[in-house]
């Protein structure tokens, strides 16, 4: 039998948390391995017993792109800022797909793991966090198609803007996490979330420049429009990869501010509701 080095056990104090509970991110750090295990499990299980497997990560955005190209590109002739429409929409569909998948997975993450929540302690935050991060694998797979499209349409990104791509990806993740924290915590008590979510993502798609260019939004509405962090993300992706649009400006900082507001309010709401999860789920 292997001897595990004995260290002084830490004392845990259990008491009713009052007001805005401390964020207690230290616990999340202690359980960091579990985050990776949950992501790994989600990925392993996601395409089990499917015929097409991980191909689904490609099929979904590609088919949407084809439909968008036909309807908006060919029929409605929506402006794509001089970029070929397929690559124009696909570039936006990547972060959008990540965002929607994160919302779908994360909002159900607590309720579908209710047996874990009612039986053992672990930082509940792990479940939505792992769900959101788990979408990155699908994102990476569908990104390969984008590279193919760029080669086909001979679009070369400039290094001057490409380095910002990870930052925009981070912004997408922060936004998705912020919304997911709200939705997953509300879902524990009110399963209305399951019914409201398809509408939420549909409306959100309309106010996000996925099928169209944000240049169609008139000056008067620009500020209000950039209150949607996903608009900042999509514009950023297009700018970083295709060089279209004006690049980061003041409206981006509005997006970033709103995104962080969502994340922190989500964290506090989640932490505050966390103590009753096991009782109400």
């Amino acid at each position: 039998m292997t001897e595990i080095t004995k260290h002084e056990p830490t004392t845990i104090y259990i008491k009713p948390s009052k007001g805005l509970a401390a964020l207690n991110l230290r616990d999340l750090w202690i359980y960091r391995e579990l985050v990776f295990f949950m992501i790994w499990r989600d990925i392993k299980v996601r395409y089990k017993q499917t015929l097409l497997g991980a191909l689904w990560a490609i099929i979904q955005p590609v088919l949407t792109m084809i439909v968008f190209t036909f309807i908006f590109g060919k029929v409605a002739k929506v402006s794509s800022d001089g970029v070929p429409y397929p690559i124009f929409s696909y570039t936006a569909l990547l972060p959008w797909g990540l965002f929607v998948a994160a919302l779908n997975q994360a909002s159900r993450s607590l309720t579908s793991n209710h047996n874990m929540i009612t039986k053992i302690y672990f930082p509940r935050l792990i479940l939505p966090v792992a769900s959101v991060l788990g979408g990155l694998v699908d994102f990476a797979i569908s990104f390969v198609v984008l590279i193919g499209l760029m080669v086909y349409y001979k679009v070369t990104p400039s290094w001057a803007s490409l380095w910002t791509l990870p930052l925009f990806l981070l912004l997408a993740i922060i936004t998705a996490l912020g919304v997911s924290l709200w939705l997953s915590a509300i879902n524990v008590q009110y399963r209305d979330v399951n019914y409201a979510l398809p509408f939420l993502t549909q409306f959100w798609l309309f106010i996000t420049p996925v099928a169209y260019s944000s240049s169609v939004v008139t000056e008067k509405w620009q500020l209000a429009y950039s209150m949607n962090p996903m608009a900042g993300v999509v514009n950023g992706f297009r700018w970083a990869l295709l060089g279209s649009g004006n690049g980061p400006d003041a409206s981006l900082w509005v997006s970033v501010a709103i995104s962080f507001l969502m994340l922190f309010s989500g964290l506090f709401y989640f932490r505050n509701m966390e103590k009753t999860f096991a009782d109400t789920i």
């Binding site: 056990p9 845990i12 259990i14 948390s17 579990l34 874990m116 039986k119 053992i120 302690y121």
Partner: protein, 430 residues
């Protein structure tokens, strides 16, 4: 001696919302009225009004003002009836749920044997689930790796370790799950036998693991309805009743107190609505009575008279295959006998399914069975292999008086729980 667990003024309040009675009769009118009231409900939910102190929500204290300390290396038993707050206490200690009032300080990692199989995913292989489950239980990756072979060996499923667990038999699944939990090596182990799943063999394994842990000098909290297990494995016990701590004493004393407090009404046990767990529905126990040979409800029966036992209950919905069982045991927890109301093939066929309504299941335990002493009567309502609706292993206790029983001409106690009148013959052979 250091204190492993220190509980101070602990309380846990649960709200019982109006949701339980909502749409009881499934009337369209009520559904429509409810839909029309939705804006009001949303307003109340968002402002936090309505959930506190209004007429449509009641609250009850599952635990109230509990204080106790457990020293490191001690094994503490927790006894109490269904709904006494035992499971709530363990849930708070393992940080699954938060207390409403009071504080607990816990020194070290709390592991529990009711976490068995938590987080197991049917699509993952045995190997993958070991790592997954270990991580959920708070083990470090390196720790799991170092114990991996041991866990596999303990689980006896090494042949199928790379097969998805959905292909496992339920026994294999349980063994693997238990193997991981058993190797967690927490500083504090909580065992809730009441909720333990699995067969007798598995429960035996749980108890074995528990005494191992106790012998290694770690702290154990043990909840059980089995008094012999409590007596065997713990030195000290606390008694909970309706969320309050009634006493803490050496186990023998606590068990005596617990068992004798059950017979407040002599020879009769009545179940209040709040004592019946919600999970029992549609089964609802009403009363359990012990009558003597002349039909009187008594606390003490004579061993020379037959004992009539009757259990009254209500079915709120029809149940198929229901059987009512009596468990008779001595005060030290040794079982004397088990009997079910549909043991007889004729009754088994006739009561294959029971319509909703009020029932009584009666039996007569013949005269000349019991030895002197106090016996505990447990009841159980289950459908074999399907579901256990209700169980109370110490529903009622009664005394047996042996005056007139065989061998009472000698004033000496006799060992053994039974004292039947045997047909002795003595022959002179030469």
């Amino acid at each position: 001696m250091t204190t492993a667990i220190s509980v101070k003024n602990l309380g846990k309040q649960y709200r019982i919302g109006a949701a339980q009675t909502k749409f009881k009769y499934g009337m369209l009118r009520e559904v429509l009225v409810d839909a029309a009231m939705t804006p009001v409900r949303i307003y109340k939910a968002l402002t936090g009004k309505g959930s506190r102190g209004t007429t449509n929500s009641a609250s009850f204290w599952a635990l109230k003002d509990i204080s106790f300390d457990v020293e490191e290396g001690k094994v503490l038993g927790i006894v109490g009836r269904n709904g006494a707050g035992k499971s709530t206490l363990l849930k708070i200690l393992s940080r699954v749920t938060e207390p409403t009032t009071g504080t607990v300080s816990v020194r070290g990692r709390v592991g529990s044997l009711l976490e068995v199989g938590t987080g197991f995913h049917p699509e993952l292989t045995g190997r993958e689930n070991i790592f997954m489950n270990g991580a959920i239980l708070g083990m470090k990756n390196a720790e799991i790796e170092s114990k991996f072979d041991e866990i596999v060996e303990f689980s006896e499923v090494s042949q199928f370790i790379d097969t998805p667990v959905k292909r496992y038999s339920s026994g294999m699944y349980l063994r693997l799950a238990f193997a991981v939990a058993a190797h967690l090596e927490p500083e504090i182990l909580v065992v809730d036998e009441v909720l333990a799943v699995g067969d007798a063999e598995f429960q035996r394994k749980c108890l074995g693991k528990m005494s191992d842990v106790a012998q290694q000098g770690r702290t154990v909290l043990f909840v059980s309805h089995n008094m012999s297990a409590i007596l065997r494995l713990t030195q000290e016990a606390i008694v909970l009743n309706k969320g309050q701590l009634l006493m803490r004493a050496p186990t023998q004393e606590a068990v005596d107190f617990y068992l004798s407090s059950g017979q407040a009404q002599a020879g009769e046990r009545l179940w209040d609505a709040d004592e019946v767990p919600a999970a029992s529905a549609p089964f609802r126990p009403i009363s359990l009575k012990v009558r003597n040979g002349s039909g009187k409800v008594v606390d003490t029966v004579r061993s020379t008279e037959p004992v009539h036992v009757e259990f009254e209950y209500q079915l709120d919905a029809p149940i198929t295959g229901l059987r009512i069982g009596f468990y008779l045991s001595t005060m030290r927890g040794e079982y004397v006998l088990t009997s079910f109301d549909t043991d007889e093939p004729r009754l088994f066929d006739q009561f294959d399914s029971r319509k909703s309504g009020r029932y009584v299941s009666r039996c007569v335990i013949p005269a000349d069975i019991f030895n002197e002493g106090r016996y505990s009567l447990g009841v159980n309502a289950s459908s074999f292999g399907v579901r256990r609706y209700f169980m109370d292993e110490n529903a009622l206790a009664f005394n047996v008086d042996i005056s007139g029983a065989p061998g009472t001409q000698w004033a000496e106690p006799r060992v053994g729980p039974v004292r039947p009148r045997l047909a002795w013959k003595i022959e002179k052979l030469d």
